[in-house]
């Protein structure tokens, strides 16, 4: 058998280890890229959440201030006086005997009410 005449088979064997190495490298690179994208997405999502939370805080603060302004308005002297003149609020004069004093006061009038004015227009 003349082996020298037999056609020589040129083999180009796949170097599995090398291929796997490249595949692993590419996969790692891809994973890295995807992780980066994933993290970026997470960052954006968190950023949006922060933005919405900031907005909510601002809104709550604004509502708080609106309520404060309304409370101030409703409890202002002008509003209370208006309510008094409308009759929806009444003030009862405190008689002298209901006032606890550290130093006893002289009764100003016979009825015991601490009334100090000497010339009220009501005296007409």
């Amino acid at each position: 058998m003349n082996t020298s005449l037999a056609p020589q088979i040129r083999s180009n064997p796949i170097q599995i280890a090398k291929v796997l190495k490249y595949i692993a490298f590419v996969v790692a690179l891809g994973a890295l890229g995807l992780s980066y994208v994933y993290l970026k997405n997470i960052q954006f999502a968190l950023g949006d959440e922060i933005r919405l939370t900031e907005k909510k805080i601002k809104q709550v603060r604004a509502e708080n201030e609106v309520l404060l302004a309304k409370t101030t308005e409703l409890s202002s002297r002008r509003a209370l006086q208006q309510r008094m003149s409308n009759g929806s609020l009444q003030v009862v004069q405190i008689s002298g005997d209901k006032i606890a004093r550290l130093t006893p006061a002289l009764p100003a009038t016979e009825d015991g009410v601490l009334r100090t004015a000497s010339n009220e227009r009501a005296a007409r």
């Binding site: 609106v66 302004a69 202002s76 002008r78 006086q81 010339n119 227009r121």
Partner: protein, 588 residues
């Protein structure tokens, strides 16, 4: 491989390499050489400086009652470049903002990037409109945060508080003088927006927090302010004068406890007010003080030893010819001492004391009492009044000035002058700011009482105060200023009104009463001044018009301070006006 093939491959590679080299070169040029320029361009295109508005500080009274606060509102702004459905946006905006749909559509069709649709939109409208926009998937409308200043008490204290202009700057009152502290400092941040106009949080740049405005705590006590406001308002409506002014202050510290004027204005609606309504007459009006000014000559003459407590001065039986003119008293008086001169308010007695002192010495005391100078209160527009030096006096000035003529002073100056007597002889600096606090209530600055000078020793001040108690006792000119249970010291003033044409306006008077209570240990000094009350000239006196107002104010103030009455009650007195009314009723 044959040679020509190698050449071709080498050529192709060379070309590719050259192309890449050119690109690389260009990249290096753009990224490194032109870095600054393009970075700037990019920043201009994407970055924007977002202003973080500082909140304006509140104004509080001495007990923390809110006098000026902020109401958050929104400014609705449209960016036409972001609006894809103009008709839908216009319909929605018109529905919530109360605008005409056609107007909104016309505005947002202009392709401008910043179109203000409506200002001062309430928060609840904003919340509802934004929700509706999100539901309808509309964009291109933003809601900028803004605030409007509110004064919950309306007209009360309007002159002191002032108001803001359209840019949020103080125009008058405390809002003007304390603008820097109230306004704070806006912050900023650099942000980037996406194509829909939303901020990209990741690219948020440099940020500077705003410095919110400080709160200003006034020395004003709203309870006392309300008392004064109510009483002067009643007087303004009853007697229909041109103006009424009321001031109350603590003589020991110089703190202004209340300050009110009529006519007045509502700082919530400054546009509706006339300029005359906006004047804080307590500090910017000049008036001849009338007899309240007699305390100056009395105190000066006593202190200089020109007269003693027992010195008798002949009051010419009510007619004193000097400088070719006759000076008159209301009644003819003979010999009187200083105490009696003050109690009876003798013009002749006061003039003679000034003449005995001499013009220069008398002038020195007028200035020492603070007349002719600004007191430096923290309110804008305070004037110094008009006190001519002796070199510019005519022959009659020495007799006229002691009775409060030929001199012009502000109501605040009169009150401060009386405070000198009330606190034992010291001229204090009046102040209306008690402290400046940050938003947590920590005091940044606190005003302390400041003595300007000792005008007269305590002994002299005490003597004058005793004489002023006599003014309110039977026989004095201000019995209507009495308050049941308390000793009141004070002085009336009735001055003819100076005419704008020169001389005095016939039948027009500026009447006043300035006093303090309790006389033995004053808690407050109060001035009531009524300019040209529309009543008969025979009734238009400080003792009849201003003194009763003082009495009512002082009575209520005594309750507020919880002062213990030290005197037995006094019988009710009927005012001459009331008597006239009663008689009229019976005749009808």
């Amino acid at each position: 491989m044959k040679r020509p093939e190698c050449i071709r491959i080498a050529f192709a590679c060379g070309i590719v390499a050259l192309i890449f080299t050119i690109f690389s070169g260009r990249l290096v040029y753009l990224h490194i050489t032109k870095n600054k320029e393009y970075k700037q361009l990019a920043a201009e295109k994407h970055l924007m400086r977002q202003v973080i508005h500082a909140k304006r500080g509140m104004i509080l009274d001495r007990n923390g009652e809110i006098l000026a606060s902020n109401l958050p509102v929104r400014t609705v702004v449209a960016d036409a470049s972001l609006i894809k459905k103009p008709a839908a946006v216009a319909a929605l905006a018109s529905q919530f903002l109360g605008l005409k749909e056609a107007d909104v559509l016309r505005k947002i069709s202009s392709q401008k990037k910043y179109i203000v649709l409506k200002k001062e939109v309430p928060e609840e409208v904003y919340v509802a409109m934004e929700a509706a926009m999100q539901k309808a998937n509309l964009r291109g409308v933003t809601f900028e945060q803004d605030a409007i200043r509110t004064y919950p008490n309306g007209e009360t204290l309007g002159h002191v508080l002032g108001f803001l202009d359209h840019d949020g700057k103080g125009v008058q009152g405390i809002e003007l003088t304390m603008n820097n502290l109230l306004a704070g400092k806006n912050g900023y941040r650099f942000i980037e927006r996406d194509r829909t106009g939303k901020e990209i949080m990741l690219y948020r740049g440099t940020e500077q927090e705003p410095v919110h405005g400080s709160n200003i705590r006034l020395s004003i006590d709203m309870s006392l302010q309300s008392i004064i406001e109510e009483e002067i308002d009643k007087t303004f409506k009853e007697l229909k004068p041109e103006t009424v002014t009321g001031i109350m202050l603590d003589p020991k510290t110089g703190e202004v406890l209340a300050m009110a004027n009529r006519p007045c204005f509502n700082p919530n609606e400054p546009g509706k007010a006339e300029p005359e309504q906006m004047k804080n007459r307590a500090i910017i009006d000049m008036v001849e003080p009338g007899s309240t000014f007699k305390i100056v000559v009395a105190a000066g003459a006593l202190n200089e030893g020109t007269v003693t407590e027992k010195t008798s001065i002949f009051c010419e039986n009510g007619r004193f010819l000097y400088g070719g003119r006759i000076l008159k008293d209301h009644h003819g008086y003979g010999d009187m001492n200083v105490h009696e001169i003050l109690v009876k308010s003798s013009n002749i007695g006061s003039a003679k004391m000034a003449m005995l002192m001499g013009g220069d010495k008398y002038y020195e005391y007028v200035r020492k009492f603070g007349f002719g100078d600004r007191h430096g209160i923290e309110l804008p527009g305070e004037i110094c009044g008009l006190v001519h030096p002796p070199a510019r006096w005519d022959k009659l000035t020495i007799t006229r000035m002691p009775m409060g003529q030929s001199v012009a002073v502000t109501p605040l100056q009169i009150t401060m002058g009386m405070s000198v007597i009330a606190n034992g002889g010291h001229l204090m600096t009046p102040h209306i700011i008690k402290s400046v606090e940050d938003r947590d209530g920590t005091k940044i600055l606190e005003k302390t009482p400041k003595v300007v000078r000792e005008v007269v020793p305590e002994k002299t001040a005490r003597f004058i105060a005793n004489a002023l108690v006599g003014v309110t006792q039977p026989g004095g000119t201000a019995t209507y200023a009495r308050v049941n249970g308390f000793e009141v010291a004070g002085k009336t003033g009735t001055a003819q009104k100076v005419s704008s044409k020169g001389g005095y306006a016939a039948g027009k008077y500026v009447v006043s009463f300035v006093g303090f209570m309790p006389a033995e240990d004053p808690r407050f000094v109060c001035l009531i001044m009524v300019d040209d009350a529309k009543i008969a000239s025979s009734l238009n006196y400080g003792g009849l018009v201003a003194a009763p107002v003082f009495s009512r104010v002082a009575e209520k103030a005594a309750r507020h301070f919880d002062l213990t009455p030290t005197l037995p009650p006094i019988p009710l007195q009927q005012l001459p006006m009331a008597k006239a009314d009663t008689q009229e009723e019976t005749t009808h």
